[in-house]
């Protein structure tokens, strides 16, 4: 039983601040310095927040799956706290990527929503991981909560590539994924800066959220009451 209060390390706090500064830099660069894309024009500037959050969202859900496996393997509180943290942070980024995606779709495709591969996949993963958090809220026993949500998270994560693959067969309208080679360096640089910025911020989020979880669990810990009577063994 570790009753000490847990919080992010100085290094993690520093990383968070660095992430914030980088995000400001990248966004200002994206809004002013980066050239407009040749077909989409100025609207393409949305990708500097949209694409980095999408990358990081997938990465964080991958972390969640890894932490879930670790949690099942070890049953440790640390693993569970990081798993719930990654699910929550993943959901925040997921929501962000959906909204910015819709803001991007409206001027480029003329519609707010399209059942294209990535939008569909990310909408479903948002609903699913939201369901996992809803389930967590209903379980009182910490051990059971950790195990069950880890099981659900692993199953949900495995589903993501299946959905992706399936929806791609179903229909596709999204533009072919661009690689840095085909993009001008003026677009690549702010995108990379923002990707790292959001990653650093997400690491700070993860650390904070996991600390909250561990503090809450520690607050539940109560020492055994004192022995009332010294008895011999039977």
């Amino acid at each position: 039983m570790n009753n000490s209060i847990s919080g992010p390390s100085k290094f993690t706090h520093g990383l968070g601040v660095l992430g914030l500064l980088l995000l400001l830099t990248g966004s200002v660069m994206g809004l002013t310095w980066a050239p407009p894309e040749q077909h989409m024009g100025e609207v393409s500037r949305i990708v500097f927040v949209h694409v980095p959050s999408a990358w990081n969202c997938l990465l964080i859900f991958t972390f969640a799956c890894g932490f879930a496996v670790w949690s099942l393997w070890s049953g440790s509180r640390k693993a569970d706290s990081y798993m719930v943290a990654s699910i929550e942070v993943g959901i925040v980024l997921n929501g962000l990527l959906l909204v910015t995606g819709m803001l991007f779709a409206r001027p480029t495709w003329g519609i707010w929503w399209d059942w294209d591969v990535r939008m569909t996949t990310s909408l479903i993963s948002l609903i699913f991981f939201g369901g996992v958090l809803a389930m967590r809220a209903l379980i009182d026993d910490p051990k059971q909560r950790a195990t069950w949500s880890a099981v659900a998270a692993v199953i949900g994560y495995v589903d993501v590539p299946l959905i992706y693959f399936c929806v791609r067969w179903w229909r596709s309208l999204h533009q072919v994924q661009s690689t840095p080679d085909t993009m001008s360096p003026g677009i690549v640089l702010p995108m990379r800066i923002n990707a790292f910025a959001i990653l650093f911020l997400a690491i700070w989020f993860l650390s904070m959220r996991a600390s909250i979880e561990r503090n809450r669990l520690a607050a539940q810990d109560v020492d055994q009451p004192d022995r009332l009577l010294e008895g011999g063994t039977l």
Partner: protein
């Protein structure tokens, strides 16, 4: 839309996207700090 096929304008969408991103990230950070404080607030016996 001009015949060249380049989308013109759309700054309102760009500004909305950046504002929403910053509001969500700052809002989540604030909620984390508040929750962290309250999770620390009642220290275990």
């Amino acid at each position: 839309m001009r015949p060249t096929g380049v989308i013109v304008g759309g700054w309102e969408y760009i500004i909305a996207a950046y504002i929403i991103t910053s509001v969500v990230l700052i809002g989540y950070a604030t909620s984390l700090i508040l929750r962290w404080r309250s999770s620390r607030g009642n220290p275990p016996r």
